[in-house]
Amino acid sequence: MRKPYVRPMTRWWRRDPYFVRYMWREATALAVAAYAVVLTVGVWRLAQGQAAFDGWLQALRSWPSIVFHLVLLAAMVIHAVSWFEIMPKTMPMLFVDGERVPAATITRAGLVTAVAAALALFALAWMLKP
């Protein structure tokens, strides 16, 4: 007698720590989008003139905004690290001098590039500071 039993998928993301990490990677993409919105509002306020832009800068300096940015920063670090971890699996095989580039090297190269880009941007902002 056949009576196949299908197990439910309820709350599947809690079943394995790997799935929990995956869900964090995906959820923190919302933080990236949120920061893009913050920057877009800045550009929009800039187009409205000096006073509007100064108002936006003032709003960024408020306590809730600083806390919000710290949360966004933490989320972006999680997002960047977890994405560079999966990156070798998402790209075509890379060969250098006929040897395949190992996954760990690709992940490291991604992380180093991200940190270098962040530092370069920070340095640029520091130099342009009025």
Binding site: K3, R15, K89, T90, M91, P92, M93, F95, G98
Partner: protein, 247 residues
């Protein structure tokens, strides 16, 4: 002799409305695999336990089960690593349970057949013309994907397959890529229809667990995601190139 507590998920379609856990205190030695443990249960404790197995050396791909919630080959996992706390063994996730540890894999077999899982020669050669030659680099492009043993641990690790079993899934797509990436093959265009479908590579969300659990180092997530690039090229190139250019 040392013993280890082991719980096995039982399901007998004639008697049971749903699966239930059966406990055993299993005498074991350090060299015993989980598969050997299950066979010892069948021999010495409960002969009605059903499970699949054949080779006992990680090549037949029949003994895949969930061990403490993780997809693993019973023959490649050792009881000693779960002592003294014990372990729970259940059938592979995301497949309907047929009986005890036996799941229904017909869905995968259909998918495997659908991907044209063999080389369709690009240019037919006669015996006099000799063998098809390949460089080591051409071999490396597909070799790891040919190591798949169809054990289906990757399907048990794939939540997208669990949520929608129409998804072609990791192993079938990795094997599809194995043939598409082979320089001798000429059936790429046929297989691209499966790649491009909504239930083809685009149902994958790069969870990546399939590659973690693979006992043969196939890296199905890599095969699937390389084909997202191939599928995108296939889609856009037809607008800019004349017919047949997307190969």
């Amino acid at each position: 002799m040392k013993t280890i507590p082991i719980q096995v998920l039982r399901y007998r379609p004639e008697q049971d409305a749903e699966p239930w856990w059966q406990k055993f205190d299993l005498p074991y030695t350090d060299d015993m695999s989980v598969l050997q443990g299950l066979l010892a249960i069948k021999d010495d404790f409960d002969g009605s336990l059903s499970l699949r197995w054949t080779c006992r050396m990680a090549i037949c791909g029949s003994c895949g089960v969930m061990i403490d919630g993780k997809p693993r080959l019973g023959c490649k996992t050792f009881l000693r690593d779960y002592a003294p706390a014990g372990l729970r063994v259940e059938p592979l996730a995301h497949f309907p349970i047929e009986r005890d540890l036996v799941v229904n894999i017909e869905d995968f077999i259909d998918k495997l057949e659908s991907i044209t899982p063999y080389i369709v020669p690009k240019e037919p050669r006669t015996l006099e013309q000799g063998e098809y030659l390949q460089t080591p680099h051409e071999l490396e492009l597909f070799e790891q994907y040919s190591s798949c043993i169809n054990c289906l641990l990757c399907y048990a690790a794939c939540p997208q397959y669990g949520l929608n079993d129409k998804f072609v899934g990791p192993a079938a797509l990795a094997l599809l890529h194995r043939y598409n990436a082979d320089s001798r093959d000429g059936a790429r265009q046929e297989r691209m229809q499966i790649v491009n479908a909504k239930v083809g590579v685009w149902s994958c969300t790069a969870v990546g667990y399939c590659s973690e659990v693979c006992p043969k180092g196939v890296d199905p997530a890599n095969a699937v995601n390389q084909n997202k690039v191939a599928s995108a090229k296939d889609y856009f190139l037809r607008f800019v190139a004349p017919k047949g250019a997307a190969r």
